[in-house]
């Protein structure tokens, strides 16, 4: 642990500001809000620096704080606008299944080794793109569930969504993401 790093909070901004900002932007998709969250993160870190034990790197510590700030932000905006977004829970069946629930757009075979895939920056860019293509509320419930690894119940409560709609939204997000990766990545690479 570099003692200088922990004693000079202003150097955090130069060193980690961009990385934190980009992650916040990836999650929230609003530059102004992302900047504010980064600022709040640094201020919280400043307040808590005496209790930072150096068990992890400064970067990991700052990312941990930012992730909590992001969840708090999503909770706050959901409280302010607690509407159930009908569009996001409307019928998935349109393009993927016919009226009988039979596949209309059939899943293709994927033949890439995930181990190799996860080492490619391009793949992560495509995953980000596909997440950004989800309607905001689907993106939020899905990233709370799978990136923050909250339980489905915690995720839907943060968004103030009923259990039924929460389940429908997660299903829909998974199907859309699968489809987006297939169209934009696997069809092109295979």
């Amino acid at each position: 642990m570099d003692y200088h790093q922990i004693t000079d909070p202003e150097s955090w901004v130069d060193e980690y500001g961009d990385a934190l900002f980009r992650y916040a932007l990836f999650r929230i998709q609003d530059g102004q809000v992302a900047e504010d969250l980064v600022q709040e993160t640094f201020l919280a870190a400043l307040r808590g620096k005496d209790s930072f034990a150096g068990r992890s790197s400064v970067k990991t510590w700052l990312f941990g704080i930012l992730k909590h700030k992001i969840i708090d932000h999503i909770r706050k905006i959901s409280r302010e606008r607690p509407e159930e977004d009908i569009e996001t829970v409307a019928n998935l069946a349109d393009k993927t299944f016919d009226e009988q629930g039979v596949w209309k757009s059939q899943p293709a075979k994927w033949t890439t080794d995930p181990g190799l895939l996860f080492q490619q920056q391009e793949f992560w860019e495509m995953l980000q793109y596909c997440l950004s293509e989800l309607p905001p509320r689907l993106n939020q419930v899905f990233t709370l569930r799978e990136l923050d690894e909250l339980s489905a119940e915690e995720a839907r409560k943060i968004l103030q969504v009923s259990p039924t709609n929460g389940g429908v939204m997660l299903h829909r997000a998974r199907m859309r993401l699968r489809e987006c990766l297939e169209i934009n990545w696997f069809d092109k690479k295979d």
Partner: protein, 87 residues
Amino acid sequence: MFSCKQATELMSVSLDSKLTLYQRFALRFHLLMCKLCSRCWQQMLFVRDAMHKCSEQAEEIDFMSDHSLSPEACDRIKNSLREHTNT
């Protein structure tokens, strides 16, 4: 026998909670019979793994690499850190 759409709904539920014995049996049976759903299930698991990996590597993956914190924002944040350090 339930539909493929219902099967994908159960797959999603199974990623969030424990299925009932009946649901588990019904889904397993459907997956044995249906190549497309079986493929979809593998891919859904892949998407989940990718998300978990993405979370694990969040500090290393260069998210939104064409964006940066503006110089103005950097100054503002540094100023506020200074203010808070002095109080």
